[in-house]
Symmetry: C2
Amino acid sequence: MPHLKLSYFDFHGGRAEPARLALSVGGVAFEDHRFAFPEFAEVRKSTPLGQVPVLYVDGVAVTQCDAINRYVGKLAGLYPVDPYQALLCDEVMCVVEEASVRLGPTFHMAGEEQKAARLELVNGAMPKYLAWLQMQLIAHGGEYFSDSRLTVADLKVFVDVRGLNSGRLDHVPADLVEKVAPVLNAHMKRIAQLPSVVAYYAKFDQN
Amino acid sequence: MPHLKLSYFDFHGGRAEPARLALSVGGVAFEDHRFAFPEFAEVRKSTPLGQVPVLYVDGVAVTQCDAINRYVGKLAGLYPVDPYQALLCDEVMCVVEEASVRLGPTFHMAGEEQKAARLELVNGAMPKYLAWLQMQLIAHGGEYFSDSRLTVADLKVFVDVRGLNSGRLDHVPADLVEKVAPVLNAHMKRIAQLPSVVAYYAKFDQN
């Protein structure tokens, strides 16, 4: 197994959290490098395209979160071997990423501009993405998104839905997912209760 | 092998072209469903999230171009089996997609607004992405992006660079890639001359 160092903001969310979870759930050792938001300006000077997360594989810096999720998913046994199941897993990760990219610019807005942009998403794209994800989940048995077992797609959706529910996103109602896609919300709660996920977060509470 | 139908706009570019090329280069049979731009409004009524390309796998509609590229890449023998090489392949595809997403909104602009938006990219993000891609290419031997052989990453970059060079993108100089990343431009020309790629496009000229 290569030496892995995953570098990202120090919070339980965002674009590195699915990979952190996958590595932890799969019992793969890695250096969990975290930095505070104000440190980003300095950190990005040495990262590919100025971006995070970065996964250092035996010292080689690799960026792009879904490339990372897929790679650590393979190492952790949380990525389908069957090409068709892998396709379904990838499709879900791509859709969540697309939705995140739509939301991204609003983090750099404030006041009425942010409110208008977020409400447009809340009343337009977000319910569509959530409904599609719920439809995919139901179409594949209702428990997991692909391969009839936990994969990185479940972890990515879990982190995304938990973030939407957090109430920390101004103008995004904390009950949006429950109203639009209750089966998806139930999936999030189920993933949160997996013993390996509970154990991962328990480590932070002990510190 | 499943029955494959790939549905996308009828031109030699965009988000389905790498998959069309991969399937053709790999000798995988597929239904190459193409529609004219004005038909899109009707086509999208029945596609997931109103998007194209769509790959129908034994009739099941799957969207998201990089998920499709990866799947057909596996079927065509153009995707690395080694997880680390697959990571490098994925990273390149993700970066090209990210650059495309940055360019996307400018297609819905006109006049001075489009000019300003495109010039901002031409003088900012685009050279950065191109330089990074060239750096990756050189770092892995200068011929291919991963696995020391042709993969879907090469095909995706090829389609992207060819599009930038086409002169059809207003305000994007047709010599931008040659000026910023000549090794990347040489890669594009080399891919274009692969016998399997030449044979693919020759079919259209015969029609």
